[in-house]
């Protein structure tokens, strides 16, 4: 992971097509993914079908997010006032580097060298753990999947279940190999039963929870009217981090604010059912500033921009900011199911990542991601806040092509091909010649009625799709022979 000169973080991985090609050859990964996504799809469907008015809830969720986005400045200022009135401190971070500096400074001020962390997409996005490590501060991930990822020196591959690409045997090996270096070691005779692995994680993290004095969290929602921050979780590691330490630092994307506390009645129905397929997740914690005698006595809320205002600027793309990180779109996506999350090269994988990442870092930095989709629309159907992902994808595709035409990047093979195609299609003579050439070429290249791989600059097109073999005789030629000449 690296921080660019603009202070934003971008994962230095190969572009999607290359990374996906590698991932597709990993049969273990594909088996793990297929099992996991099909399991969760079935659970989600059941949980959603139980609510006859789920469409109305989606509509309300979408509208609430639209209202928030269109008046974001106002709601953030209101949130700042509410949190401050309740005894919290609000910080503003324009980019990743600034957010990391703020958190590092706050941790240093406590004199502590260790922090416990609740799973948080925002802190992954800004590379907080790495920044803290550079400052000599160790961050312990406490979500089970994040722990697996951290111990395995791996990267998360799913928003909800970051270690979805690992199976139980792999996890047992990681625990046995790595736990000792971070704290309490795994039992020597650890087997790969789910209960045994979970128990090992519980024992390993317990001493961290009971001694930690500083915690870092993300936030699922924050109500502007009351200053109430919400964390939705399952394991209780969130509660541990939000309750036991003396200082709590929450890093929250500016788009997470919602107008009113009671608006949570919509989101707390949409999120668990869309995410884990449960009626309600095991634990949801809310807190408003600090409360004497209960929980952290110092609370800092870091409001993070880091490209979000660029997303907001785009009237089509801004709907991506409505995302509540449920990951339903990942689980229904045929592309994600086959390539996994790492191929997207971002902490935000899958369909939402394909629209969010290029907007956060600039389309020029992630030009292949808007194309990492078949536009089947399953993501739109599954999205609990009705983000029209296919619409944003096509919008961004146009921007990528447009960016190439304006010389922002060297012209792509696609742009050259489209330009050539335009010339050919505009001239009947050139079109005739092209068709004949294709018919001849088709006889050479075609196997089983498909062209699998095209030569030269067209390879990029044929890498990801088979092309129908051109007919031996074009309709124009047939007409000329049988009707005009012969008739």
């Amino acid at each position: 992971m690296s921080t660019g000169s603009d202070g934003r973080v971008w994962l230095g991985t190969p572009a999607f097509p290359k990374a996906a090609r590698t991932a597709l050859t990993d049969t273990q990964l594909r088996r793990n993914l297929r099992h996991a996504t099909s399991t969760i799809r079935a659970k989600r469907l059941q949980a959603v079908e139980e609510l006859t008015d789920f469409e109305a809830l989606r509509e309300a969720g979408s509208a609430l997010k639209r209202r928030t986005a269109r008046h974001l400045d106002r709601y953030l200022e209101q949130l700042e006032r509410s949190v401050t009135d309740a005894g919290g401190t609000v910080h503003w971070a324009a980019d990743a580097a600034e957010a990391n500096q703020i958190v590092t400074r706050l941790v240093r001020a406590t004199g502590e060298r260790e922090v416990v962390k609740v799973k948080s997409m925002a802190t992954q996005e800004i590379g907080l753990n790495e920044a803290l490590a550079e400052a000599g501060i160790t961050a312990y991930e406490t979500d089970l999947a994040e722990l697996i990822v951290q111990l395995g020196e791996d990267r998360p591959s799913h928003i909800l279940v970051p270690a979805i690409h690992r199976n139980r045997a792999e996890i047992r090996d990681i625990f046995q190999r790595e736990m000792g270096a971070w704290g309490r070691a795994a039992p020597r005779d650890l087997d790969d039963g789910l209960e045994s692995l979970t128990e090992a994680a519980r024992q390993h993290l317990r001493e961290k929870f009971l001694t930690a004095r500083v915690a870092v969290s993300g936030a699922n929602f924050a109500a502007a009217d009351t200053g109430t921050v919400v964390v939705v979780e399952s394991e209780g590691n969130g509660r541990m981090c939000l309750t036991l330490p003396e200082t709590l630092i929450t890093v929250m994307g500016i788009e997470k604010v919602v107008p009113r506390f009671t608006d949570l009645e919509v989101f707390l129905q949409l999120l668990p059912r869309s995410s884990t397929g449960e009626r309600m997740n095991p634990y949801t914690s809310t807190w408003t500033g600090v409360v004497a005698g209960d929980g952290p006595q110092a609370f800092h809320l870091v409001l993070l921009d880091n490209g979000r205002t660029d997303v907001l600027k785009d009237t089509v793309g801004r709907q991506a900011l409505a995302c509540i990180r449920c990951s339903a779109c990942l689980n229904v996506c045929p592309v994600y199911e086959r390539t996994g999350g790492h191929s997207y090269g971002s902490v935000y994988p899958g369909p939402i990542g394909a629209v969010l990442t290029p907007q956060l870092v600039g389309v020029g930095q992630a030009a292949s991601l808007p194309f990492a989709s078949t536009l089947c629309g399953a993501c739109y159907d599954a999205c609990p806040v009705k983000i029209n992902i296919p619409e944003v994808l096509t919008h961004l595709r146009a921007e990528v092509v447009e960016g190439g035409r304006q010389g922002l990047r060297p012209p792509t093979a696609e742009a050259v091909a489209m330009k050539a195609a335009a010339a050919v299609l505009n001239s009947p003579r050139l079109w005739r010649m092209a068709q004949r050439a294709a018919a001849v070429g088709g006889g050479v290249v075609g196997r089983g009625g498909r062209v699998r791989r095209l030569p030269g600059p067209l390879r990029g097109w044929s890498n990801a799709r088979d092309t129908a073999v051109p007919p031996r005789e074009s309709f124009r030629d047939w007409w000329r022979k049988n009707r005009e000449g012969g008739g």
């Binding site: 008046h71 953030l76 600034e98 089970l144 279940v161 690992r166 139980r168 979970t198 107008p259 408003t288």
Partner: protein, 215 residues
């Protein structure tokens, strides 16, 4: 320029398409979703939904409540049990119990050594099988129901609301709230649910109903 001004300035510039005189209320939010997905038997639904999470639920009359508490604690083998301030004395069974008080506040080691915690709830939600704690009387600060491995929660039937909207409407957001839906769980390994990670691994719920009200 401070980052606060930078970020707010960027937001205002990004929203150039929003008419200056538009108010948030003008961005319509249609709330024609149901206020409740529960049927008539709210208590019955709550009991069923809590049990779905793998928690044990018992229904009883007020004069049976203390006995139900004793039975649950005995079943779990818990004697050194934390009882928060304000927990109704009438719900405590007689006998030789090691009730632990949080006064002065217990340290984490003492919390960790306790065998369980006995609380009431601020609100309960039938459709989602959730108990909501607000750190009020009978519930105590959040750590009490978090560190010990066993949580026994006594819910009065009149605290059970049908669904999520009613629950949020009746809670005070200034209090720290914990929504508990079954024991702690994870699906992080192969998406298979395992109960009991960091929070209490066992959750028992006792629903107390006045005669003639529910069953």
């Amino acid at each position: 320029m401070s980052s606060r001004r930078t970020v707010l300035g960027r937001i205002r510039a990004a929203l150039a398409d929003v008419p200056r005189d538009e108010t948030p209320d003008q961005v319509g939010v249609v709330r024609d979703y149901l206020r409740s997905h529960a049927g008539h038997d709210v208590v019955g639904l709550f009991v069923e939904r809590v049990a779905d999470y793998g928690a044990t639920v018992v229904r009883c009359a007020p004069d049976e409540a203390a006995g139900a508490v004793a039975a649950a604690l005995e079943r779990h083998g818990a004697r050194r049990v934390i009882v928060p301030e304000g927990f109704p004395a009438g719900l405590l069974p007689d006998g030789d119990w090691g009730w632990v008080r949080d006064d002065p506040p217990l340290g984490v080691t003492e919390l960790d050594a306790a065998e369980g915690t006995l609380t009431t709830a601020a609100v309960a939600i039938a459709v989602t099988g959730t108990v909501v704690l607000d750190a009020g009387p009978g519930q105590g600060r959040r750590a009490l129901t978090l560190v010990p491995d066993y949580h026994l929660c006594v819910v009065h039937a009149d605290r059970i609301v049908p669904d999520v909207p009613d629950a949020l409407g009746g809670l005070d957001p200034r209090r720290p709230l914990t929504f508990v839906s079954g024991p702690s769980a994870t699906s992080d390994i192969e998406l298979e649910r395992v109960e009991g990670v960091h929070g209490p691994r066992t959750l028992d719920v006792i629903v107390v109903e006045s005669r003639g009200a529910g069953a």
